[in-house]
């Protein structure tokens, strides 16, 4: 096994990889920017090296520096986590050139699957379903014929397009000719190019993805699907496995297709094949992520497979320790991304200092967090603070457990999306499982703080103000309390009966 690996990342995923390495008996080296000097990943690693200024392109994205740290510290592997250099084929190559394993797929696999156009081409040859549509520009004469073949509703999109210009949603055949004319004219005006293509419009789409794992002997397995339809700003917030919208038949088909695609590029390590799925379970390839995914824990919870440990093992050359038929699903898992952002203000990030944090505990609860009292939320990096994951015997129990866990979660200092998540777990549409990527848009009331909660907060503040004493003093010593008259009295009045 590796002797020592460098984790080229920060935050919770760096902590996650360090934990996996420790459990495999591998020494760990952390790298950090000036902004992350006092952070959990630095604290948990065996060694830590500063690699530059806070901005990612002056630290976490500077591959050369990272490789040179790895060489100095005598690492035999680099785990890139997600984001940053994780899907950078050049970096993967540079690692290998320097005789350090890149713990992930081959540079070739990254290159092939990382490009939207090549990956579509490969998908096509592997007979992976793609959103039906014209590959390129359509002639006016053929347009209606093609449109009928694709089926309605459909989208007309400007080939040179972007930002919604030259784009038309067509609900039925009768609207088509007129919409085509308008789209082309708009495209002409906007881009000086009236070329358009046609694609099926997926109504109420769900985001479904399949986790795959491959080894260097060519074995590839899938670990079933994840549903990631609850999104804001086109980014996932809540994920679950299995998907409440995927039947056993579709699950099997999707899994097989994902494995076939991964095999096409001799995929090794952990990867994810993303699909868009309509409410009738028709699904189409979107892209492949050639790295460990933020939401990998929910798959770990339902399969009992440690994806990060497996990544490291197969990268070192171990064969996958299981075959497809050995992989069993059990129960249901949900992940909530706890973020420093204001749901009631367009999910705007909320930088600042976390004064106090208390994580949920108890059965079936896992918190992959990099938080601590005094943690600084900066604008340099993603505002995700922690991933709260629960497992339970079925979806209803998992939702109730998540609700319970969220109710124990305390983050004082900056506004977070915890309140929104609490309300989401109580929402009957969420509970019904009929999800699509527009869910949050359609449930805006979940973004608002209920009046009764504001009242409780106000009442507590009122008592604070009445006490007339700054709480700051109390933090020094929990036994010292100028509020004694309240605390002491409580033993008398707090519903006391005897």
């Amino acid at each position: 096994m590796y002797k020592k690996i460098l984790i080229a990342n920060r935050g919770e995923i760096a902590v996650r990889v360090i934990r996996a390495a420790k459990e495999l008996g591998i020494k760990t080296v952390a790298v950090y920017s000036d902004a992350d000097k006092n952070s959990l990943h630095v604290n948990l690693a065996d060694q830590a090296f500063n690699i530059g200024k806070p901005l990612p392109n002056e630290s976490y994205l500077v591959g050369k520096r990272i490789i040179s740290v790895a060489k100095k510290a005598k690492c035999d592997g680099i785990h890139p986590g997600y984001g940053f250099l994780s899907e950078n084929a050049e970096f993967a190559e540079e690692c290998i050139k320097n005789k350090i394993d890149f713990i992930g797929p081959s540079a070739d696999a990254i290159r092939l699957m990382g490009d939207k156009i090549t990956s579509r081409e490969i998908a096509k040859t592997a007979k992976v379903p793609l959103v039906p549509g014209t590959e390129g520009e359509v002639d006016d004469d053929e347009a209606l014929g093609i449109a009928k073949k694709i089926g309605f509703p459909l989208m007309i999109k400007a080939s040179a397009g972007g930002g919604g210009k030259g784009m038309r949603l067509v609900h039925e055949e009768s609207e088509f000719e007129n919409s085509l004319k308008m789209a082309k004219s708009e495209a002409k005006n906007a881009f000086n190019n009236d070329a358009v293509f046609i694609e099926r419009f997926i109504q109420e789409p769900r985001h479904i993805e399949i986790q795959v794992l491959g080894d260097k002997e060519g074995n590839v397995v899938h670990l079933f699907e994840r549903e990631c339809s609850i999104q804001r700003r086109h980014q996932k917030v809540v994920e679950e496995a299995p998907s409440p919208g995927v039947s056993e038949k579709t699950r099997k088909k999707m899994g097989e297709i994902a494995v076939k695609l991964a095999k096409k590029v001799s995929y090794t390590g952990a990867g994810t094949v993303e699909f868009i799925m309509d409410q009738k379970e028709n699904f189409y390839f979107l892209e492949m992520n050639t790295r460990v995914q933020v939401e990998h824990p929910i798959t770990e919870m339902i399969t009992g497979i440690d994806i990060v440990k497996e990544m490291i093992k197969v990268s070192f050359g171990h064969k996958l320790s299981f075959k497809q038929k050995d992989i069993q699903r059990k129960g249901h898992a949900i992940e909530c991304r706890v973020c420093a952002e204001d749901p009631d203000n367009n999910f705007l990030p909320t930088p600042g200092t976390i004064f106090y944090v208390k994580s949920p505990q108890g059965p079936g609860v896992r918190d992959d967090s990099s938080l601590f009292n005094g943690y600084e939320v900066t604008t340099f990096y993603d505002p995700m603070l922690s991933k709260l994951i629960v497992w339970a015997e079925d979806r209803d129990s998992a939702i109730k457990r998540m609700s319970r866990a969220l109710s124990e979660y305390i983050v004082l200092g900056v506004r977070t999306n915890l309140g929104f998540l609490v309300r989401l777990m109580d929402d009957k549409d969420f509970i019904s499982g009929k999800l699509d990527t527009g869910f949050i848009e359609k449930h805006k009331k979940l973004l608002k703080i209920p009046k009764e909660n504001s009242n409780i907060a106000l009442i507590a503040s009122a008592i604070m103000l009445h006490s007339g004493i700054g709480v700051e003093n109390l933090e020094r010593d929990p036994r010292f309390t100028p509020w004694k008259y309240i605390a002491r009295r409580s033993s008398v009045s707090r519903n006391s009966m005897f």
Partner: protein, 166 residues
């Protein structure tokens, strides 16, 4: 005793009575029998009309921050000048950059009349665009930036002044 707290420039008055070991808070003419028990350094158990609520509290200077059921509430202790009694809105809302970023679009011009909650400017930070809103009714009296400007944390963007104060 009478007190008041300020949130989003609104002053909320309340009364607190502390008799015979019973603490009562009166807000909006509703009476709550309350008690606060300290658990942890910042963690409290609020008992309100017999039910228990977990609340985390931080007081910093004139601000009280509370965490309850996943949401953060920040109250200001009003200065003597603020204390008018019933709800009123202060005259000026100076909108500044909540984080370093860039001005994407100004939605209003100097002289425009705005209502509480109106979006006035779109800024970009952390690769995301966000709309900043005014928290009072009034008129735009000053704009210190133009579209495309880079913003430091706290940089002044624009000012809204309420009309009735003029």
């Amino acid at each position: 005793m009478k007190y008041s707290l300020k949130i989003n420039k609104k002053i909320i008055p309340f009364e607190l009575t502390d008799k015979d070991n019973n603490l009562e808070v009166i807000i909006d003419e509703k009476k709550y029998s309350v008690e606060l028990v300290r658990i942890d350094s910042n963690l409290y158990s609020l008992i309100c009309d017999g039910s228990t609520y977990t609340i985390a509290i931080q007081k910093q200077g004139k601000e009280i921050s509370l965490f309850f059921k996943g949401d953060l509430f920040t109250y200001e202790i009003p200065s003597q000048r603020d204390k008018g009694g019933s709800e009123n809105t202060s005259g000026i809302d100076k909108i500044s950059a909540p984080m370093p970023g860039r001005v994407v679009k100004l939605l209003k011009s100097v002289g425009d009349i705005v209502t509480e909650g109106d979006g006035v400017v779109v800024v970009e930070a952390m690769k995301m665009e966000s709309e900043l809103k005014t928290t009072i009714d009034g008129k735009i009296t000053e704009i210190s930036v133009k579209e495309g400007d880079t913003l430091d944390l706290g940089a002044h963007i624009l000012t809204v002044e309420s009309q009735d104060k003029k």
